[in-house]
Each structure stands twice: as C-alpha cells, then as structure tokens.
Symmetry: C2
C-alpha cells in the first residue's frame, strides 16, 4: 500500500481556545459546560473535512480556575458530539496512571461502536502532583514507572480490544446461538501492574481497535509511541526540531519492524489569521490586551515546574532552575520546546509567553502564510499534519476552514472530501486483525 | 412540601429484554451494540412519560456470552441517547469497587451537564468473582468491605459534586474573572479507602448532584441506601415482602433524620401483556419455546452461586447449599426473593425459572391486570413505583406505554406530561445545596 502521503489536520478544542484571553471573546461565556459550543465547533471542523476534533485532558483543576481548562470528561463529551456529526474523528485524552485498563478499554470500545468507528485514545501518563492527590496517592509515580505502567496498560488494552474476534457475535435468531465461543478469548494477562483475565464484555468495535495516540516526548514516551502509537502529538517550534523528532520516531518504529507510514507525527500549530499580516497582528494585539498576566504566568510556571515568583515578566528565563526541574517529572516535550525557543532569541518571559503559547509554533499572518508553513513542515518531513489551535472559537477555526483549507486543497495537499467513515480511514491506517485470530 | 404522592416508572433495558429468549424476536439481532435499538426504546419511553431509562451493568462477561448482557458502557450509551430525547431520565449503573471516585464523580457530573440534569448513578458493589479477575484482584473483597468502601465512595462523590458551589463559574468577560475562588473548595478528604484533595475540575451540574440510587438488599446495602440514596431498586416477589422492605428502608431513613418521601422504593416488575390473559399466556409460551435451557440454567446458577449441575430442572432447589453460599458474597436481594418464592409453592427449578425471571415479580395478563398490580403495590406501600422489564423490545414496552400507562393516568396515578426537565423533577426530589455553601 503506497498511497499518496496525506496531510492530517485536527482541531484542538481544549480550554476554549489557545489564546489565554480567548474565552473573553466567545459568544457563550459559559461555553466550558455548554454542549452547543462544542457542537458548533464540530460542525465547522467537519465542514472543513478535518480528520478529528481533539480534547486534551487533566484530572485535577488547573491554574486555580483563573481561566478555562478541559472540564467535561472527554469520552462523554465526544459521544455527545457524535450525534451532530457523521465523519469527524473524535480524540479523547485519558491517563494510564489514573485509570484501570478494563474500564478504559470498554469505554473506548463502546464509543467506537456508538460513533461508527470514529474514536481515538490519546494516552497520557499525567505528571502533575495535583492529580495524584485526587487519586489517593501521596506522590506522583516517577516518570520511568509511569511509562512502564503505560506500556503494560496499552498492551492490556490491545488484548481486550482483540478478545472478541471480528464476527464472534452471531446473534443467530434461528439457531439461538448468540456468540461463537471459539472466537471469544480470555486474555489471562499477568504483568507487573495488571492481572486481567478478560475477555472484554463487548464485541469488537468498528475500528478493531480505537486509534491510539501518544503525546510524550521523553525517552519513555518516544519508545512507547514507536512501539504502539498510530499517531504522536508533539510540541515543536522549529522545522529543524520537528525534523529531528520526526526522523527519530519513524526510525524507532522502523527498527521495531513497523511501517513508519503507520505512525503520524502531528505537532501543534497556533495560527492567528488575518486578511493581511497587519490585520492578523492587530487581531492578536487586541486579544493580548485582555490577558490576565498573573494567571498566564501561574499556568506557565506550573508547566515549567517552578514558582511564578521565579519568572519576572521582563527578564530571561531562569534556565538553570528550570533545567533542574525538567529532569524531574514535568512534561519534557513542552519544556524542551520552550527552552529551545527562548535560548535561540534570548527572549524575556513576556516575549516567550507571546511567541510560544503552550510551546506550540505560532504563525501570525494571512491564510497563504499559514498554508505555507503547513506545506513546508509537511514536505520537509517535520510533520505529517497538525493539531490546529484556534485563538478564539469559532472565528479562529472558521478562518482555517474557509481560507486555509481551500489553499491546501488547491495545492493537492488536503482532501476535498472524506473518503471513508472511520478515523482509521481518515488517517490512512489499516484496520488491525485480532491477535487471537487464526492466521 | 407535601405534594401528592406520585408513581415512578422506569424502563430497564439491560440485556435487550428480560425474557431470556427475547433477543431472538428482535428486529435488530445485533442490537446489543446498535445505538438505533436503544434510541427506539428511549423514544417509546419518553412518549409514555416514564421517569427514566435504566441500564444495569457488569464489568465481566456474563454467562459465557450464551445470551446478551449489558455490553456498551452505560454512561456513554446514555449520553448518546440524550441527543434523541428531551426529558427522559437516564440511569447508569457503576461499581464503587472497581472505580475511583474522582473519575466517576467527574463523568456523572459531565453527563448531568450534557443532558441538562437527567442523569442518575445506580451504585453497586459488584459481587462476582469474574469482575475481580478483570481488575488485578485475586479475590472479591468481602461484602462488609465492599459496603464500607461504597459508603466512603458515595461520601467522596457528594463532596466533589459540591466542591464548586452553584454560581462559582463567573465567566465574566468584562472583568476577566473566570471563577469565584471563594466558591471553589478543596475537599481534603482523608478516609479509610480514599484520600482526595479536590476540587472537581468541573462546575456544579444542573441537578447539583446526580440522582443517587442503590440496589443492595443486604444489611450493608440497606444502611447505605437509607443514609444516602434518592431511590432504591429491589427484587420483591410478594406484596408483603415489598411492604416489609419498604417500611424498613423508610424507617431507617427517618431514623437518620431524612424525609422518607425523598427515598423512593422501586422494585422490578416483569409484565407480559396481551389483549386477554390467554393471549398474554400464549405470548409467553411462544417465547418460552425459544429458551436455551442450558444457558438459562448457567446464568441462574451464577446468580445463586452454585454449579449448574446442582440444579436439575425438574427437582426443587438445593436450599441448604444455596443458603450456605448466600451468606457469602452473592446478591442477597435476588437470592432472598428467589428462595422466598420457591419455598412458598415448593417449585421445581424449571417452574421457578418460569415464574421468577431475575427474581422480579412477573405479571402475565391484560393491561388492566398489570395496572391493578401496580396500583395495589403503590397504594399498599410496597412500592413508590417500578423498574419495568420488557419481555421483548420494543413491543413489550409499547404495550406498557400504549395500554397500561393510559389506565394509570385515568386513575390519577401517573403523570400525563412531564412537569419539569430534570430527573430530580420527575422523581419529585429537592435539589441539594452544596455542603460548602454558607447557610
């Protein structure tokens, strides 16, 4: 199968938009719990033929509720959105540290059934201490342990998703045979973290297995991704950094005997779009006026693992202090991307916050300029596509769909219509056979 | 508040219908994973102005897949159904033994937001050994431990659901104030089973707290219900047994300082309806022809906690053996109800399976006869309402909605239309204030 390489684009709806003051410009102030807000976005995304809508997640309140963060649990929110869409893929984040594999396997399989095969699981290991304190743990498990558990967790998921072979549900009304016992398998998993007998109490789902995405950039995250993921989310601010990451993951996958075309590298991208570059800059400046700097700083300090007091707005980053923390349990990818950008141009904290929102590359300009960036990264193999962040919803996404997508379509880089119905179809990924099926 | 006492009726959709061969008469053989099957039922239930649709659940495959059992995870299935209904309450079962309270509190709160306040949690402690083997446990925790954990679990749920007071989400676009920190509370729970800091990462939901239902009939289950539940599901086969249970729970609630009108007793009821009693009996006989007796016996033996070999079809129950097991970890309510009925009429296993499906009272007859039973139990305070089981979907439920409900409405026992929009409204339950709100 050597089909033409395709560009993949998701919309990241987390926290009501990437710009920290974006929520102040919404037409639904309480959008964080309002299904209609998400429906509107899903409809725009589907109109743009995007691959999927993505929700990141956390299992603790972020930033003392000084601004929005993902609140509605992603699997139920995406299930609710499925009723209002027909093709759009639906990517939900869940933590392997704070879930049981049986429950999670079953819920994602259920959503896959309910959506006709449109769901993906973005599995994260969750580094923040506040999460541990919500799950009866006195400390966050260290990174090595989190990734060891994640690896076994993903292994158990695959076994459970495969435990009913395709066609095991007979539902034969004439003979009364409900299922074929020879095609329903106990999994008898005996591991370090989990002992799971199985089988799952649910027939195999439309995609066979929900699409699996991984978002860690540390050594453990890269190994997990190369071995198991269908796609990798990453924070990259330069083409060169993106190329290095891209080559690294594809190389690891190849070394493990996988087809590197079956693992997509999808960095985040944050476009702020105007009819002219000046208009785009004015749009951003107008939003920047509304930033609560104290809250922004608190959130940024939390990601870096330092105190807000360590980050005077108009001075450079305290590199040594951050480097020390970063070797601990923070998100390696975000910290690396942030330090790289800050060092390159010797930025102050304020300049950095301005140019590096969420450690993603920001592009402020015309639809052509945004399309150029996407094309460059794609053709130079720094990315197979992007998680697109909108500054404000729905206008930030509408600008992409109405003005950037048509350019990408004219350049032959992006689909003009969906060619299949499942997320595996959009991602051009094969549907895996059950590991328990006779060859 | 001394409003007229109202009858409450739910439809129990678990396992595609109560009759073990019901699935062989469906027009969608693979209904167990087909959203359209559930949509059709939800629409009929809402047309009948029923209080809610109920899904029981298990976290292990039942009966070796020889017949249907709940497969799709209830919270996501009910969320999908919400898009196709506007008023119907949605009751999902979940286990306190195999979930973390933070995750479950958040998911039910999310569904409550997404459904405009229509969700209930039926909390169970899960007695079957197969479940333990799916969650890395070498044995099922004993009943006392399961209920001690359940009690603390429910306590943590309430704290998390209350952790954002009503109105704590400001989303004030003019001032940039997103939330009121004085109305968002850490819960600092330190218990035997859980240590949870909180707050939940989600504003308070429309019902304040999702409706809480309990289904255990053992001493531990009754205590938990009396202290915390808004409604109790129970298996009762005689009016007298129902009255005893009813008086017991209401008495316990009163003794704990609760208003006994705010805890509804809802036994299961299994009507098989025909235009005449003879037609109803013929309908049942026709279905009975299709029963896979071996599978039925295997399922029954699993509930009783004995081997299928211990249950010859045409001999009485092995009471002593069952009594011994029943003091262990099986579902006390089902075993009690079953033994009570079998002893009263000295039934063989076959007769018992016939008259006691799922340990619920069966009524085979005309709509009048079914309505009479409902009225008798309601007026004699053996029940505040029922979980109605259908023999086959949709016809079993349509017979209730089209022929039984109108009789109950004419008798002034059941609503002619919904008077509110939330499940608390239908159940005539007050919306609780946050325990953290200043009085």
């Amino acid at each position: 199968m050597t089909a033409k390489r395709q560009l993949h684009l998701n919309t990241n709806v987390t926290a009501l938009g990437r710009h920290p003051a974006g929520w102040r410009l919404l037409n639904q102030p309480n959008a964080i719990v309002d299904l209609r807000f998400y429906q509107q976005i899903a409809n725009v995304a589907e109109r743009g033929k995007l691959d999927a809508l993505f929700l990141s997640d956390a299992v603790a309140l972020k930033g003392h509720a000084r601004g929005p963060s993902q609140a509605l649990e992603p699997t139920v929110l995406l299930t609710a959105l499925a009723a209002h869409t027909t093709h759009l893929g639906l990517i939900a984040t869940a933590s392997s540290t704070y879930n049981d594999p049986f429950n999670l396997a079953r819920r994602f399989s259920s959503v896959d059934h309910l959506t006709g095969g449109r769901v993906a699981l973005n599995v994260v290991t969750t580094y923040d201490a506040a999460a541990a304190a919500n799950f009866s743990l006195s400390r966050v498990p260290d990174k090595a342990e989190r990734y060891a558990r994640a690896r076994e967790f993903v292994d158990v998921l695959a076994k459970l998703w495969d435990s009913w072979e395709d066609g095991a549900l007979l539902a034969d009304q004439d003979t009364g045979r409900y299922a074929d016992p020879d095609r329903v398998h106990a999994i008898h998993h005996r591991g370090t973290y989990f002992q799971v007998d199985g089988p799952l109490n649910l027939p195999r789902s439309p995609q066979g297995r929900p699409v699996l995405i991984q978002a860690g950039s540390s050594e453990g995250g890269r190994e997990l991704a190369a071995a198991t993921a269908d796609a990798v989310f990453t924070a990259q601010t330069t083409v060169e950094g993106g190329q290095r990451f891209y080559a690294d993951i594809k190389g690891r996958a190849r070394a493990l005997g996988r087809n590197p075309e079956h693992i997509h590298i999808l960095p985040g991208l944050f476009p702020v779009i105007g009819g002219t570059e000046a208009q785009a800059r004015a749009r951003k400046a107008e939003m920047d006026e509304l930033i609560d700097w104290e809250a922004a700083l608190a959130g940024f300090a939390q990601v870096l693992g330092v105190d807000a007091d360590d980050l005077p707005l108009d001075r450079p980053l305290p590199y040594e202090k951050i480097a020390k923390v970063a070797r601990g349990d923070q998100s390696q990818g975000f910290v690396d991307a942030t330090l790289q950008l800050a060092r390159a141009d010797n930025l102050t904290v304020r300049e950095l916050l301005d140019r590096n929102p969420g450690a993603h590359r920001i592009v402020i300009g015309t639809p052509e300029q945004v399309a150029d960036t996407i094309e460059t990264w794609f053709l130079q193999r720094a990315a197979d596509g992007f998680n697109l962040n909108a500054d404000v919803f729905p206008s930030g996404l509408e600008a992409v769909v109405d003005h950037v997508i048509p350019i990408l379509q004219r350049r032959g880089l992006f689909r003009r219509d969906y060619e299949g119905t499942t997320l595996r179809d959009h991602f051009a990924l094969p549907r895996p056979a059950s590991q328990y099926a006779e060859a």
